[in-house]
């Protein structure tokens, strides 16, 4: 069982959803992001996603765009992202990289998988990679024991959900709404329906992302999903902080709050395998 699968299994045994926290590498600095990610894990994130800052983040809203822009402007390289994974995974939390595809393609898929595995990484979340184009990555992932996580959206047809989930490993990332990353006042109404449809195709854990920003929303999502993914809310804490120390404290606070949220809706009747 992969480390990611283990984390979901663990949460299920506690009759709660897993908390998945996202932070981009290199923001506010490479060491700062490492410290923030570890704090997030210590305060309750069961799984950590490390974002690879990219020049053309199509699916990201203004918050993550700004953070990754600053990370790139600060000189963050792919090697720094791998270092970040090493440090965070080394602190004992399953750690995946979330990345757009070109940087991996340019690095060389097999080489990237090797270096990710060597750094202690657990897998990749690939928002702009379709299963049709994923052949080399799926092969490398199988070779290296990495989880390939793909996204499904409310607009995904049942046929596509079937296709996507058939190649997924670790968990399925369900985008809660049609849109970019960023916190919203309400979690997308389409999320529950999407999770149902995904469950019809796979027994993999389903985690919902996009828009979750507080304990109440986390609890709401935890009521119907196996995992709650939070990104922009954490990044906002760092963006809005006076300095890195304050930012990391804010990240820690939010993580505790969200960790409480995913336990709020722990219900005896939750059926999880």
């Amino acid at each position: 069982m992969s480390a990611v699968a283990g984390a979901f299994r663990n949460a299920a045994e506690q009759h709660r959803a897993a908390l998945v926290g996202y932070l981009p590498a290199g923001f506010p600095s490479v060491p700062g992001a490492i410290e923030a990610a570890i704090a997030m894990a210590e305060a309750g994130a069961d799984i950590v996603e490390i974002g690879l800052p990219y020049s053309d983040p199509l699916m990201d809203g203004p918050v993550i765009q700004e953070a990754t822009r600053r990370a790139l402007a600060g000189g963050t390289r792919v090697a720094d992202v791998l270092r970040t994974v090493q440090a965070v995974a080394g602190a004992g939390v399953p750690t995946l990289i979330m990345t757009y595809w070109n940087p991996v393609d340019h690095y060389g898929v097999a080489a990237f998988a090797r270096d990710l595995a060597n750094a202690g990484g657990s897998g990749l979340i690939t928002p702009d990679l379709t299963p049709e184009e994923a052949g080399p990555w799926l092969e490398a992932a199988a070779d290296r024991g990495l989880d390939p996580v793909f996204l499904v959206a409310p607009s995904s047809s049942d046929e596509r959900i079937n296709l996507i989930t058939s190649v997924c490993g670790g968990f399925v990332y369900a985008a809660s709404l049609m849109g970019t990353t960023g916190t919203r006042d309400a979690v997308g109404g389409q999320a529950a329906g999407l999770v149902q449809r995904v469950r019809g195709c796979t027994s993999l854990p389903v985690a919902v992302g996009l828009g979750v920003r507080d304990r109440a929303q986390a609890a709401q999502v935890a009521g119907f999903a196996d995992g709650v993914i939070v990104g922009s809310a954490f990044v906002s804490r760092l963006l809005g902080a006076e300095d890195t120390t304050a930012g990391i404290a804010a990240v820690r606070d939010l993580a505790s709050d969200l960790a409480a949220g995913v336990r709020d809706s722990a219900v005896a009747s939750r059926s999880r395998s």
Partner: protein, 378 residues
């Protein structure tokens, strides 16, 4: 994906539908002004090695460039899909103006995304779009040019896909855009091939076009692809020169990768981050290129060369003075290509150059460049 699947199905259905094709042909004829002229330019040709040069006059199409061919097709498709809103990206503004035009004609809502840098250097086109009823959004992320406008348009589309069609302006992006836009633009080469045979009794030795995203070039090239004796020559934006790194010459200076939903050549650094591009012409300032051009390049069917800002402006001036035609700065890159290729091929050569647009939008930049006016840009 579902938006792309829906679009692919709608496009294939429209392509096979005689009624759709008839509607499009009628608009191209009665509204856009097709077929466009093929003009022989002997005084320009004298500067280009002494052979014969013909210009395909996309500059005379309604809105002043070839962009109208594609937007009319996509606007009709939008209506066919029952959508009421169109969004677009634009670099120089020509595609934005063309999209706003088609939307005004067909009663569709229109929002155009344009890099803030470009809204400044092509301010008149921003005004045109607004006059035509479109909303223009200045994009302030990233390098604030075309690639960032594309990113923002995709972000809009992912949220509004139920009501909105994203009218991409070039032969780039995820399938079906490269093939669909090429199909809408290939009327250029189909007409030109017929016209040059009628005018000169033979096929050209070379078809030359500027390449940014690649739509006017693929439109000019496509009908000639089966004609083995016809060279296909693409002229990219060489900016300050390839060696300086300040350019947008994707095929000459880039490598294979993934950008905007396509596998193609792009200008990228060692980490696969997209590089910033530089060109005097906003319409060529794109770090990627249409995948069909990548294919033509890799198979050797077409060749691509970088033309510097200085070479393009020199050719711009030559056409103005020898033929009384003010070209778009983008198109001037193709003219510069002709000034190089002509002497390479000799005085028996026959060159067909796609004049993709007129230069009214560039008069301010060109006037400043040549010193005809001084002082700050209007």
């Amino acid at each position: 994906m579902s938006a792309l699947e829906e679009l692919t199905a709608a496009y294939l259905s429209a392509k096979a539908d005689p009624a759709f094709q008839a509607d499009l042909a009628a608009l191209l004829r009665d509204y856009a002004g097709r077929p466009t002229l093929l003009t022989e330019v002997p005084r320009f040709a004298a500067e280009a090695g002494g052979g014969r040069v013909f210009l395909k006059r996309e500059d005379l199409a309604h809105t002043g460039s070839h962009k109208i061919n594609n937007v009319l097709g996509q606007a009709l498709l939008t209506r066919r899909m029952g959508k009421t809103r169109v969004i677009a990206e634009t670099g120089a503004g020509q595609h934005g103006v063309a999209t706003a035009t088609a939307c005004a004609l067909l009663g569709l809502d229109c929002t155009v995304y344009m890099g803030e840098e470009d809204t400044r250097r092509q301010a008149l086109n921003v005004a045109r779009m607004r006059m035509l009823g479109a909303e223009v959004v200045a994009v302030t992320n990233g390098s604030r040019t075309l690639k960032d406008a594309i990113n923002e348009a995709f972000r809009d589309w992912v949220t509004t896909v139920e009501t909105t069609h994203y009218c991409i302006g070039s032969v780039m992006g995820p399938h079906p855009f490269p093939v669909m836009v090429r199909d809408f633009q290939r009327v250029i080469g189909v007409e030109a091939r017929e016209q040059v045979l009628a005018a000169a009794g033979r096929l050209p030795d070379a078809v030359i076009a500027c390449v940014g995203g690649g739509s006017n070039a693929i439109g000019a090239f496509h009908a000639f692809i089966p004609d083995d004796g016809v060279r296909l020559i693409g002229c990219e934006a060489g900016g300050d020169g390839l060696a300086t790194g300040r350019h947008a010459a994707t095929l000459a200076g880039g490598s294979a990768g993934v950008i905007h939903g396509m596998r193609t050549y792009l200008l990228q650094d060692g980490d696969g981050q997209t590089l910033e591009t530089h060109s005097i012409s906003a319409g060529l300032d794109y770090p990627g290129v249409g995948p069909e051009h990548s294919w033509l390049h890799d198979t050797g069917r077409a060749s691509y060369r970088a033309v510097t800002d200085a070479e393009a402006m020199d050719a711009f001036a030559v056409l103005c003075r020898t033929e009384g035609i003010i070209p778009a700065i983008e198109s001037a890159h193709a003219l510069a290509g002709a000034l190089q290729v002509g002497p390479e091929l000799g005085p028996d050569a026959l060159l067909l150059v796609n004049l993709s647009g007129r230069g009214d939008k560039d008069v301010d930049i060109a006037a400043r460049y040549f010193g005809h006016v001084t002082g700050p840009a209007q």
